[in-house]
Symmetry: C2
Subunit: 418 residues, 2 copies
């Protein structure tokens, strides 16, 4: 709590000066005077860790600040370490050393927080250090702080959202007729997809983020979230055609939901109507809905990827730490919050390739599994079926049966407005 209007100086050591780190350096330069005037804080970068000190940087910085030596970086004169490298090595070592020394640690690293968040939070609680990670989920959309603070008393029942900009960019474009290969190349050119986008496309990136949200909303240890996960591969364009047959568009939705006995965490393709919140979320944008017992449905949306939005989220955490490090499931002697399977029933869209014209086999397999059929269409080589609501394990068994019958089935959940 500031007790004077003189600006407080915060010395910052920055780990990583790629797309996000360089954007952060530019933000600090351009927004510094406004941040000082409105928020009473002056941020000074004292050291920057990079892999190669000789590489040219797209940021205005003094070369003498750079080091490639992690030990020298950790010895820097800094109140706060901000990490924008990604990956676990050396990010985990930096996080542990920073928090153990009682210094604030701010990160954009969802893989780090999903795998080691509870351990790092325990260190932070022990030393009294701040541990903040708004930039790890939702890009520039302020969902992390909202769950940690403003919505802390809202009685959250579920959090669901579009949390991966890369897969959303591709699903938007293939729904407009672009091929998957062209859409991926566009995403990479625009800087939204890595050279290796597999963690985005197979849902692991969104699963890490969903696990973090389950931690913040419900106290579930993110490393134990047991995410039910399917990505948009192998054929996002087929997913788009299947969705279009029922008047919708596909979106990769991540969610964590309160269920009897615990929290279910799911990442999977979901078909929604075009004019729903998620259907209207295009390209690299993210959108999140928080369903609450007392505060209705809170919606948050904005840029989900890119250097400046991520740097902006880091900067918010650097200016003001969140008031409390999140814990897992309350007092140490109480029972932990459990991850449970998703026991809800859903409507599903199943498409099958190369069926005979009467397609009795596929519909027969669904019927034998006790699954009702609401609507079906034949188009070209594809038979597309929308089921009545049924549990996840029933549709999984039926899909295995369709697979065995050679139908190359493709599955998406159907939600309509979502």
């Amino acid at each position: 709590m500031s007790t004077t209007t003189e600006p407080r100086v915060i010395r910052v050591a920055l780990a990583g000066c790629g797309v996000v780190g360089a954007a952060l350096v530019r933000l600090l330069r351009d927004e510094g005077p406004r941040i000082e005037a409105v928020h009473g804080v002056r941020l000074e970068v004292t050291r920057i860790l990079v892999r190669d000190v000789e590489r040219p940087r797209p940021a205005p910085l003094r070369h003498s600040l750079l080091t490639a030596d992690v030990d020298a970086f950790l010895a820097a004169d800094a109140d706060l370490v901000v990490e924008a490298m990604g990956g676990l090595d050396p990010a985990l070592r930096i996080a542990r050393a920073t928090l153990a020394a009682g210094r604030r640690f701010v990160t954009a690293n969802k893989a780090l927080v999903a795998a080691h968040g509870a351990e790092l939070a325990a260190i932070a609680r022990r030393t009294g250090a701040g541990f903040d990670f708004e930039a790890a989920v939702g890009g520039g959309v302020p969902v992390v702080r909202a769950l940690r603070e403003a919505l802390a008393g809202a009685g959250v029942r579920a959090v669901r959202g579009i949390l991966n900009g890369t897969s959303n960019f591709i699903l938007t474009r293939v729904s407009e007729g672009m091929t998957y290969d062209a859409a991926l190349a566009d995403a990479q050119r625009a800087g939204f997809a890595e050279a290796d986008p597999s963690r985005d496309l197979d849902g692991r990136d969104a699963a890490d983020k969903a696990a973090i949200l389950a931690w913040l909303a419900f106290g579930l240890d993110p490393a134990r979230a047991q995410v039910e996960r399917r990505g948009i591969l192998p054929d996002p364009d087929r997913l788009a055609r299947d969705a279009a047959a029922f008047g919708g568009v596909p979106r990769l939705i991540a969610e964590c939901v309160e269920r009897p006995g615990g929290i279910a965490v799911v990442v999977e393709p979901v078909v929604v109507t075009r004019d729903s919140l998620f259907g209207a979320t295009r390209d690299e944008e993210n959108a999140i809905v928080v369903e609450t017992r007392w505060n209705g449905r809170i919606r948050l949306a904005g840029p989900g990827a890119g250097g400046p939005p991520t740097a902006s989220a880091l900067l918010g955490d650097m200016i003001h730490p969140a008031p409390r490090v999140p814990a897992c499931g309350g007092p140490e002697d109480s029972a932990p919050v459990l991850a449970v399977p998703d026991d809800r029933s859903h409507r599903w869209i199943v498409s099958v390739l190369g069926e005979s014209p009467d397609s009795a086999d596929s519909r027969g397999i669904l019927a034998a599994a006790g699954i009702g059929i609401d609507e079906w269409h034949r188009g070209g080589r594809e038979l597309r079926i929308r089921t009545a609501p049924c549990p996840r394990e029933a549709i999984a068994r039926a899909v295995a049966g369709l697979e065995a019958a050679g139908g190359k089935p493709r599955l998406a959940r159907y939600e309509g407005t979502c």
Copy 2:
């Protein structure tokens, strides 16, 4: 910063036990165990200030907690005072005494924060007390904390939104053909409008909220915001018909915008398309867009009125105070942030009653004021004109001319998608 996982006990004195206060008591009872488990905080109500201790309350509370004596209330054994009474008396006295004693003060009172926020923040900084007011703007939509914290480094250029649930409820209903009187009665029955809704309908409530947002985003003293204000009266149904003639719906939009030399704050009816974010914001919902230099357009939406959402916002502040009390315009020796007029050009919709068929007069008056006409329609007794972009003072002069000519003009800004 919590350094242990044992719950921290916070003793709460509650001022006001009407719709919001009673909802807060119910939330505390129902969400208490979850708040303790996830957020490590146990809230205990030690005193409740009411106007009449004998009146029955729609909340589960011990009668012995109640008092009607402000002095006895202020002497309560409490770490935090939460104010849900509204108005300035005795809210201002309670706020000053609480903060001066170094105790946390949490409020839903937008009139109090707009008129006395800077003074109260100065007391809070002096004593080190927390001063939080998420519930004062946006109902349950977490815009206050977002501007104070997560978006602190985003480089905010403008904040605009639907901030008054009552007027939005009425505008939604009259756009669907309901009369104004019936819509107002519905809003009052649903608990979204006061017995005297004049502050909602004439835009003063939204102006208070816009001034608070200008404080948080730009450091403008909210008491000096000089809001350019027009409400939805006298004839919201005519506003809806005028909007419909150009394919839109009217919304009461509040905004604060960075302009050369300072901040312009405006509250006025704006015509938007039905499928825009604001057009799709219905009934008592609120929606806010934060335009930034670095983080794109952040959108927040959710319930803007009602006891439980407001109580939920109060509760978030009670669980975790914001990390810093906001200041006005930085270090004490720097120049203050100034309120400036809105010098932008806008398109306007002007309707005129009782014109002669050729309506040369009205169009001539606009032309004489140098205002271009993009489109016009005649319907029944009304002539409706959409202008080319022109400054606010030009359209104001023209409207005065139309008024003098007896045309009973009605004005709304036209934005299309917004």
